[in-house]
C-alpha cells in the first residue's frame, strides 16, 4: 500500500461517523464555521461539528439523493447568517437553516433536477444549473429561467468577471451575463459559446493568477477587489476546463479567449506542443480529466489514475505521476504550494508533495558522472519519465502520506484549495471551483481533514501529536479544577 517516506504527521481519525443511507454516498462537506455538512444518497443532509465529531443537525426533506449543495451567506457585516442550499434528484431545491435544522424554503416543481449550484454573492442571487438555468433571488424567488438546448444540461457553473458566468454543457462552455435592472429583476443573456473541446467537459474551474480568489481570502474579499483586478489586466483572470478526452484549456475570463490548449495524452498526439506529454497507449477513460484544482500557480488535473501539475505561468506540465492511484482519481486538493491530496475510486486518499529534482537545483554537479543516475532510483517516477526529465523545470510528485480508512470509493468531487479557513469571513468560496458539486475532502487546516466515501463513513482526520497535546492541556486544566486527583 504504502511505499516510502512516512509522513511526519500522524493523523488520527478522531471520529468515525457511520452514515445511514444507501451505498453510494455523494458526500458533500463544506464550511459552516467549525461545522461541515455532508449529503448522501439517502437524501439526508447532516451537519457535523468538526471539533468534537458530534452530529449537530439532521436535515430531512429530500426524498432522493442530493445532487448539489452549497452555502449562501446573507446579512450584513458581522452578522452573517449562513444558509444551506441543497438540490436533489427529486427535482427540488431547498434552503435550510443549519443552526436549527429547519427547512426554510422549498421549490419542488422544477422541470429537471439541478446538477450544480452557484451563488453570486455580489448580486445576491443563486443560479442553479441542470436541464435549465434558473436564477433565484436570496429569498428563493425565481428571477429568470432559461431552457437549454443541450441534452446533457449544465454540469458545472463558475462565476466570471463582469457579472458573467460560464456553464459547461457537454462539449461546450456557454458564457452568460446577468443583468440587474433597476427594479432589481435579473435577466440572463447568452454571450458566447466556446466549443473548443472535442469531448464532454468534465471540469471547469477559475484560475486566479497568483493572488486571486484561490487564496485563503474569502469570496467577499475577492469580489471586493474585483474591479481593481480587472483594471490591472485581463490576462490575470483565467479559467480552465478539462474534458473527457484529456484536453485542458485555459481561457481568459474576461474576453473568453482560448489562451492555452493542453492535450494530456498517454501517447504522442500533438507535435510542436512543448508541454505535451507522451505516454503509453491510453484508453479513453485513462486520459479523462476527472477533476481540476488550482491555487493560481498550478492547475492540478486528475487524469485517469494519474496526477498532473500544470504551471499556469509557464503553460507547461511541471510534474506528474502517471499511476498515482490504482484506480481513477476522483478528487484532488492542493493543500499548500507544494502539497496536494488526491483520492480515487477505490477509496484511497494520498498525500503528495511537489519536490524539486536535486539535479536542476545543483547546476554545478550537472556534469558529474553518475550523480544523475544515483539520484534516479530514488525517484518513484515511472520509466517514461526519463524523457520528461530533460525538461529543466520538471519536478516530481513524491508520495508523503496515505490515508487508509475508507473501504469504498472516495467520491467524485471538486477540490477546494487549502486555506486557513478561519480568517475574517467564513470561507465559503469553494463551490466556485466546483465542476461536479461534490466535495470529497475538506481541510480545516490544523483542525483536521474530513473525508467521506461510499462506505458510509465520514472520517475526521487529525494530527495526532497536536490532539495529544490538546488533550494533555485539557487534562491539566481539569486537574487544576479538581484540585488534584
Amino acid at each position: 500500500m504504502y511505499r516510502k517516506g512516512f509522513p511526519q504527521v500522524v493523523l488520527e481519525p478522531w471520529e468515525r461517523i457511520p452514515r445511514t443511507g444507501r451505498a453510494a454516498l455523494t458526500g458533500d462537506g463544506f464550511f459552516l464555521g467549525s461545522r461541515c455538512a455532508s449529503a448522501g444518497d439517502d437524501g439526508l443532509v447532516l451537519v457535523w461539528n468538526i471539533e468534537t465529531g458530534e452530529r449537530l443537525q439532521e436535515l430531512r426533506g429530500h426524498s432522493q439523493q442530493i445532487t448539489a449543495i452549497t452555502t449562501l451567506t446573507a446579512g450584513g457585516e458581522g452578522a452573517d447568517h449562513t444558509s444551506l442550499i441543497t438540490a436533489s434528484s427529486d427535482r427540488s431545491l431547498s434552503l435550510w437553516d443549519p443552526d436549527t435544522g429547519n427547512r426554510v424554503q422549498t421549490i419542488s416543481d422544477l422541470q429537471s433536477s439541478v446538477k450544480c449550484l452557484l451563488v453570486l454573492e455580489r448580486l445576491g442571487v443563486c443560479v442553479s444549473g441542470g436541464g435549465e438555468l434558473c436564477v433565484w433571488s436570496a429569498d428563493f424567488q425565481l428571477q429568470c429561467h432559461r431552457q437549454n438546448h443541450s441534452d446533457t444540461g449544465i454540469t458545472a457553473l463558475i462565476e466570471l468577471p463582469k457579472n458573467c458566468m460560464a456553464a459547461a454543457m457537454d462539449k461546450e462552455i456557454m458564457i452568460y451575463r446577468l443583468t440587474v435592472s433597476t427594479d432589481s429583476s435579473v435577466s440572463v443573456a447568452e454571450m458566447r459559446c466556446l466549443s473548443d473541446h472535442h469531448d464532454q467537459i468534465r471540469a471547469l474551474i477559475n484560475v486566479n493568477g497568483q493572488s486571486g480568489w484561490s487564496d485563503s481570502e474569502a469570496l467577499g474579499y475577492v469580489f471586493g477587489t474585483w474591479g481593481k483586478t480587472l483594471l490591472s489586466g485581463p490576462s490575470d483572470r483565467l479559467f480552465a476546463s478539462g474534458s473527457h478526452a484529456g484536453e485542458l484549456i485555459l481561457w481568459d475570463a474576461v474576453d473568453w479567449n482560448n489562451l492555452a490548449y493542453e492535450h494530456i495524452l498517454w501517447e504522442e498526439s500533438q507535435a510542436g506542443s512543448p508541454t505535451e506529454i507522451r505516454l503509453a497507449a491510453p484508453k479513453p477513460s485513462e486520459m479523462s480529466i476527472q477533476h481540476l484544482t488550482t491555487n493560481g500557480q498550478f492547475v492540478l488535473a486528475a487524469v485517469g489514475s494519474g496526477l498532473y501539475v500544470y504551471d499556469v505561468a509557464a503553460r507547461t506540465v511541471v510534474a506528474y505521476r502517471k499511476a498515482a492511484h490504482d484506480s481513477n482519481v476522483l478528487h484532488t486538493m492542493l493543500l499548500s504550494d507544494s502539497q496536494l491530496m488526491s483520492c480515487s475510486e477505490d477509496g484511497s486518499v494520498r498525500m503528495w508533495e511537489i519536490q524539486d529534482l536535486p539535479l536542476p537545483a545543483e547546476p554545478a554537479s550537472a556534469g558529474f558522472f553518475g550523480m544523475w543516475t544515483f539520484g534516479r532510483p530514488n525517484k518513484p517516477t515511472a520509466p517514461p519519465s526519463k524523457k520528461v526529465m530533460e525538461i529543466p523545470t520538471m519536478r516530481t510528485l513524491e508520495l508523503t502520506g496515505d490515508l487508509i480508512g475508507h473501504s469504498g470509493a472516495v467520491q467524485v468531487g471538486a477540490p477546494r484549495r487549502h486555506g486557513s479557513g478561519r480568517g475574517g469571513a467564513t470561507p465559503r468560496g469553494f463551490s466556485h471551483a466546483s465542476l461536479c458539486c461534490f466535495q470529497m475532502f475538506l481541510s480545516f487546516g490544523e483542525n483536521g481533514l474530513v473525508t467521506c466515501s461510499t462506505d458510509h463513513l465520514l472520517i475526521l482526520w487529525k494530527n495526532g501529536e497536536r490532539q495529544a497535546r490538546l488533550r494533555s492541556l485539557a487534562l491539566f486544566q481539569k486537574l487544576e479544577e479538581d484540585g488534584g486527583l
Binding site: M1, F6, P7, P13, S407, D455, L475
Partner: protein, 965 residues
C-alpha cells in the same frame, strides 16, 4: 447443658471493633482464648519513607505456622455455614448447611457440633412473664456472637445466635444459630468483624421476615380467638337462659371460665401484637443491626394496620356488649358477625379471608406439637434472601487467609488507584460513594430493585483496607461507628424511645437477672482473667492516641456488651474510652502478632512486624488449586415449603416428618400454597434471580470469557470483586501462558496489544481462535466493562469502525467470496493491524525488540501454572500502568514550561524521561504513550460504563514484518 471441656469460647464485645487475643487461657478449657489487646498503638513514630504498613507483607513466615497444619485433621474439606436450632422437643439439631452438599461436611458430625454451638448461646434472652407485668412479654433479644473452637474435631466456628418468634413455642421464642465453620482458627478470628457484619445482615433479614410471619400468625390467632369468644358467648348466653337465674351449673361455670380465658388470651395476643409492632421503635443496641428503612416502615405500617383493626375488632367488651344486647338471638349475632367480617374484608381487601377456627381449651401436649420449620417461621422472600446472603458469604470467604488477605490488599490498593484501574483491573464492584459507608441493608428490597443486593462488606481483617477507604486520615470513618450512626439515623426516634420506658427497656433491665445465671457458667472458668484483661485493655487503650477519639461514644454500643457476658459489662462501666477504642482499627498484622504472642508469652508487649502473617508465594500458588477449583455444583434448589430437597436426613434436619405436613394448611391463610402464605403481608418483591445467574457463573466457558469478560462481571449480581470471574481470568492466564510458551513471537503480539494496535487472530477453527482471543484479552488495555474492546469471533469483513471499536478480533478464515473480502479488508487495513495467523502460526506486525515485555513473554518461562502466570502478568501490567500514570500526570512532559519552548523541546523532554527515568526504549515507550493516552481520555471523559466511548484511533505508519515460528 454441659459445656464440653474443650470448647473454645471467645467473648466478643458486640460493639464490634477490636478483636483482641488474650494471652491467657481459661481455666478448665485449654483452648479457650479471649480477645484482648496488647496496646502498642501510636507508640511508634511512622517512617515517612516506609511502605504503608497496610501494604507490607511479612518477610518470613513464622516457624510453626504452617497454614495447612490445622486443616489436616479437620473432617470437612471446605468451610461451610451451618444453621442449627435448639428445638424444645429434641434439643440442638442441625437444619441446613451452606453449601448444601453432604460432601462438604464429610464425616464431620453436624449433630455433635450443633450441640456445641447451641450450648454457647449468650443471647440475653429470657422467657415468660417479667415480674410485675401482667402479660407475657416478647423478649427482644440482640444477637450474640461467639467464636468457638473444637480442637478435637479441628473445627472452629463463628457462631451467631438469634432468636425467632413463634407463637406456639415456649416463651414464643425459638433459638437458632448460624455458624461459619472453618478449619482455620485464625481465619475465623481475623475475619471476625466481617463475618459478624454479614451474619448480622442475614440475621436481620431472617428476623424481619420472622416478625412479619409472627404478626400474621398473631392475626390468625386473634381471629380464632375472636371466633371462639363469640361462640362461647353464645353458648354461655344460651345456658344462662336455659338455666335458673340464680344458679350456675358447673357447666355454666366452666363455660364462663373458658370465656374468661379466651378473653385473657385475646388481651395477651393483642398485647403481643403491640409488642411486635413496637419492635422497630426499640433502640437497637447492636450496631450491626442495621435494618432497611423501607422494610421497616412497611412492616411498621402493616403492624399499625393490624393493631388498629384488632383494637376495634378484638375489643371483647364491645363484642360482649353487642352480644349481650342481642341475647340469644343467634341469627342477629350471626348477621353482625357477617357484617364485621365484611368490614374486615374491606379493611384488608388484599388479604385472602381466613376462616377462623374454634380453639380448643386444652392445648396439645408439648411434645405432640409440631414445631414450625425455619422456612415457616420466616416469610418466604426473606428466607430466600437470607439463604442467598449466606451463600454469598460462604462464597466470599472461600480460600485461605493468605488469599483473602492478598485479595483485600489488592482491592484496597486498587481503590487507591481509581485513575488507572480501568486499564487492566477488573471492575471494583462497589461504587466510590459506597465505600466507607454502610447503607442499611435490605436483602429483599434491594435484591428486587437492583441486582446488587449486597453491600460489599468492609474489610475488617485489619485496619488497612478501612483506612484506605477513607481519603483523609482526619476523619477515620470506621464501620463500627458509622454503622451505629447509620443505625441511629435509620431507626427513627431512637434516642427518644431510648429514654422512654418502653418494653425493651424493661427487658434490658431484666436482662441482668437472666444473665446472672448465664454469666455464672463462664465466669467459673474465666471470670477473673477476663475481667483483668478487659480492664487492662481499657486502660491501655485510653492512653493511646486514639484516632477516633473525636467520635462520640455510642451509648448503644456501650450497652452492647451486656448481652455478651457479665464480666465485660463490669468493665464497660469503667471507661468510655473503650468504646472509642472499639472503633479503632487494628491492623491485621498487629492482631496476628498478638495472637502469636498470646499463645506464647503473657505479659510482654512486643510489636514486631516480623512475627506476622505467614505469607509466601509458594503457598499462594499451591493454594490455587483449592481456590479456583471448579466447585461442586452448588446451585442449591431453593428451599421452599413442600418442595424440600431430599438431602441426607441423617445430617441435616430440614424437613418435618411427612405425616405432619397436612397441618400446614392450618397455617395458610386463604388458598393453600406457599405464595399465599406471603400474601397476608404483601411486599413489593421481585423475583430473586440469583440462582439462575449463579448457574451462569459456574460455567466459565471460554466463549463467554472471550466474548465478554466483563459482561459476566456486569451481569453478576453477586460477584464480589469478580471472585468468580477470577476463575475465568485464571483460565485465560493458562491460555496466555500456553501462548507465550508456544509462540516465540508472543512478545511482539503482546506489544501490539499493549501499544494499542489492533490484533487480528485469523484462523479456521473457531474454538482455537476463541481460545487464543480469550488468552490474549488479558493484554488488552481498557477492555471495557463488558469487554467491548474484544471481539472473539467475526466472520464478516471488518471496517475501519470496527478497528476503532475492537482492539482484539478473532477472525474466521473461510474459503469463499466472503473469505476473500475478509482478506481484502485485512490487506487494506494491514497498516493498522497486526495479524496473528493461528493456522500458519505467523505474526505480521511491526518489528519489536524491546525488553519491557521480556519477563511476561519469555517463552522459556519457568512458570508452569496459568494462575501463577496470571498473577505475574498482573504485577507487570500494574507496573506498566503505574509508569503510564506517572507519564500522564507529569506536567512538564506534555506542556511547555515556558512560553518560549516549542513542542520539540517538550517532546525531547518526554523522550528523555521515558528513556532515562523509566528506562524504556523507543518501541516500549509506545506502550506507555498509549496507556497514557487512555488514561488521559478516561480522566477527561470518565466513561459511565454503559456508553463507553471508543478510544481515539491513532496510528503511526510503520512497516510490518512477518514472524514465523
Amino acid at each position: 447443658m454441659c459445656l464440653h471441656p474443650d470448647v473454645v469460647l471467645l467473648f466478643y464485645d458486640a460493639a464490634l471493633s477490636d478483636a483482641f487475643l488474650s494471652n491467657t487461657t481459661m481455666i478448665g478449657s485449654p483452648d479457650v482464648v479471649a480477645f484482648t489487646k496488647e496496646d502498642e498503638y501510636g507508640q511508634t513514630t511512622p517512617d515517612p519513607w516506609a511502605l504503608p504498613e497496610e501494604f507490607s507483607i511479612p518477610l518470613h513466615p513464622l516457624a510453626d505456622s504452617n497454614p495447612w497444619a490445622k486443616t489436616s485433621y479437620a473432617k470437612f474439606t471446605k468451610d461451610f455455614i451451618l444453621i442449627s436450632e435448639f428445638s424444645e422437643q429434641v434439643g440442638p439439631q442441625p437444619l441446613l448447611t451452606i453449601p448444601d452438599d453432604p460432601k462438604v461436611c464429610g464425616t464431620f458430625d453436624l449433630n455433635y457440633f450443633s450441640l456445641r454451638i447451641m450450648s454457647v448461646d449468650y443471647q440475653a434472652s429470657f422467657v415468660g412473664h417479667p415480674p410485675g407485668s401482667g402479660y407475657p412479654r416478647l423478649s427482644f433479644v440482640e444477637d450474640s456472637r461467639v467464636v468457638l473452637g473444637d480442637s478435637k474435631e479441628g473445627a472452629f466456628a463463628y457462631v451467631h445466635h438469634l432468636t425467632l418468634y413463634d407463637l406456639e413455642a415456649r416463651g414464643f421464642v425459638r433459638p437458632f444459630c448460624m455458624a461459619y465453620v472453618a478449619a482455620d482458627e485464625k481465619k475465623i478470628m481475623l475475619q471476625f468483624q466481617e463475618l459478624s457484619l454479614r451474619f448480622s445482615q442475614a440475621s436481620e433479614c431472617l428476623k424481619a421476615g420472622n416478625r412479619r410471619a409472627f404478626a400474621k400468625e398473631l392475626q390468625r390467632k386473634l381471629q380464632d380467638l375472636e371466633y371462639t369468644h363469640s361462640v362461647l358467648q353464645r353458648e354461655e348466653g344460651l345456658q344462662r337462659e336455659a338455666g335458673p337465674q340464680s344458679m350456675y351449673s358447673p357447666h355454666a361455670v366452666e363455660k364462663a371460665n373458658e370465656l374468661a380465658n379466651v378473653e385473657k388470651s385475646i388481651y395477651e395476643h393483642r398485647d403481643l401484637l403491640k409488642q411486635i409492632s413496637s419492635y422497630h421503635r426499640r433502640p437497637r443496641r447492636d450496631p450491626q443491626a442495621v435494618t432497611c428503612q423501607k422494610c421497616m416502615t412497611e412492616c411498621l405500617e402493616e403492624c399499625e394496620v393490624l393493631l388498629n383493626k384488632y383494637a376495634k375488632l378484638a375489643n371483647p367488651f364491645g363484642y360482649s356488649n353487642k352480644a349481650a344486647k342481642g341475647e340469644g338471638e343467634l341469627g342477629r349475632s350471626d348477621a353482625e358477625r357477617g357484617e364485621e367480617e365484611a368490614d374486615e374484608d374491606e379493611d384488608a381487601k388484599r388479604r385472602p379471608s381466613y376462616t377462623p377456627q374454634l380453639i380448643k381449651a386444652k392445648s396439645a401436649k408439648c411434645f405432640d406439637k409440631r414445631l414450625k420449620t425455619l422456612q415457616e417461621l420466616c416469610e418466604e422472600t426473606f428466607y430466600e434472601a437470607t439463604v442467598e446472603l449466606l451463600k454469598e458469604t460462604e462464597r466470599s470467604f472461600r480460600g485461605d487467609l493468605c488469599y483473602l488477605h492478598t485479595r483485600r490488599l489488592d482491592k484496597a490498593l486498587r481503590r487507591k488507584q481509581r485513575v488507572i484501574n480501568f486499564l487492566f483491573e477488573e471492575d471494583l464492584d462497589d461504587d466510590e460513594e459506597e465505600v466507607g459507608t454502610l447503607r442499611p441493608f435490605c436483602a429483599v428490597n434491594h435484591a428486587a430493585n437492583n441486582f446488587v443486593p449486597l453491600n460489599p462488606p468492609h474489610i475488617v481483617l485489619g485496619s488497612p483496607p478501612l483506612e484506605l477507604d477513607v481519603p483523609e486520615p482526619s476523619r477515620p470513618q470506621v464501620p463500627a461507628s458509622e454503622r451505629s450512626s447509620v443505625s441511629q439515623e435509620n431507626e427513627l426516634g431512637l434516642r427518644e424511645s431510648h429514654l422512654e420506658s418502653s418494653p425493651s427497656d424493661q427487658t434490658l433491665e431484666t436482662q441482668g437477672s437472666s444473665e446472672e445465671t448465664k454469666g455464672s457458667f463462664s465466669s467459673d472458668k474465666s471470670g477473673t482473667d477476663q475481667a483483668e484483661k478487659q480492664g487492662s485493655l481499657a486502660s491501655m487503650k485510653s492512653e493511646g492516641p486514639d484516632p477516633d477519639s473525636d467520635l462520640t461514644p455510642d451509648q448503644n454500643t456501650d450497652h452492647e456488651r451486656e448481652s455478651s457476658s457479665e464480666e465485660i459489662e463490669t468493665t464497660t462501666g469503667e471507661d468510655d474510652g473503650d468504646n472509642g477504642g472499639d472503633a479503632t482499627p487494628v491492623s491485621l498484622l498487629e492482631m496476628v502478632a498478638e495472637l502469636e504472642l498470646g499463645q506464647k508469652d503473657t505479659g510482654e508487649t512486643v510489636n514486631e512486624p516480623d512475627l506476622l502473617v505467614p505469607i509466601d508465594t509458594p503457598c499462594c500458588i499451591a493454594q490455587e488449586g483449592f481456590l479456583y477449583e471448579p466447585t461442586a455444583p452448588k446451585a442449591v434448589p431453593c428451599l421452599q415449603r413442600g418442595s424440600l430437597p431430599p438431602l441426607d436426613q441423617t445430617l441435616v434436619v430440614n424437613q418435618e416428618p411427612l405425616a405432619l405436613l397436612p397441618i400446614q394448611d392450618d397455617y395458610t391463610v386463604g388458598s393453600p400454597g406457599p405464595e399465599s402464605a406471603a400474601a397476608g403481608l404483601e411486599l413489593p418483591v421481585g423475583p430473586l434471580g440469583e440462582p439462575v445467574s449463579l448457574a451462569s457463573f459456574e460455567d466459565g466457558s471460554d466463549c463467554t470469557m472471550s466474548a465478554s469478560t466483563g459482561s459476566d462481571r456486569a451481569a453478576s449480581p453477586l460477584g464480589y470483586g469478580g471472585f468468580l470471574t477470577l476463575r475465568q481470568r485464571k483460565k485465560a492466564g493458562q491460555g496466555a501462558l500456553r501462548f507465550v510458551r508456544q509462540y516465540p513471537f508472543a512478545m511482539q503480539a503482546l506489544w501490539c496489544l499493549l501499544s494499542g494496535r489492533t490484533l487480528v487472530v485469523l484462523g479456521v477453527d473457531e474454538g482455537r481462535v476463541r481460545r487464543l482471543v480469550a488468552a490474549l484479552a488479558l493484554f488488552v488495555p481498557d477492555p471495557g466493562k463488558c469487554g467491548e474492546r474484544v471481539q472473539a469471533w467475526l466472520s464478516c469483513p471488518f471496517t475501519l469502525t470496527d478497528l476503532q471499536r475492537w482492539k482484539l478480533i478473532g477472525l474466521q478464515r473461510v474459503a469463499s467470496p466472503v473469505g476473500s473480502s475478509i482478506l481484502h479488508s485485512l490487506s487494506r487495513y494491514s497498516r493498522y493491524i497486526s495479524i496473528l495467523d493461528a493456522d500458519l502460526k505467523t505474526l505480521r506486525c511491526p518489528p519489536y525488540r524491546g525488553q519491557l515485555l521480556a519477563n511476561v513473554a519469555d517463552h522459556r518461562t519457568c512458570i508452569r501454572r496459568g494462575s501463577t502466570y496470571f498473577l505475574h502478568l498482573q504485577s507487570t501490567l500494574c507496573r506498566l500502568a503505574a509508569k503510564a500514570f506517572l507519564l500522564t500526570f507529569t506536567h512538564h512532559l506534555h506542556l511547555p514550561v515556558s512560553p518560549r519552548e516549542g513542542s520539540e523541546v517538550v517532546e525531547g523532554r518526554r523522550r528523555c524521561f521515558l528513556q532515562e527515568q523509566l528506562g524504556v526504549d523507543e518501541e516500549d515507550s509506545r506502550i506507555l504513550l498509549y496507556l497514557s493516552q487512555l488514561i488521559t481520555q478516561q480522566y477527561l471523559q470518565p466513561s459511565d460504563g454503559s456508553t463507553a466511548k471508543p478510544p481515539c484511533f491513532r496510528f503511526n505508519y510503520t512497516t510490518s514484518v512477518l514472524y514465523k515460528i
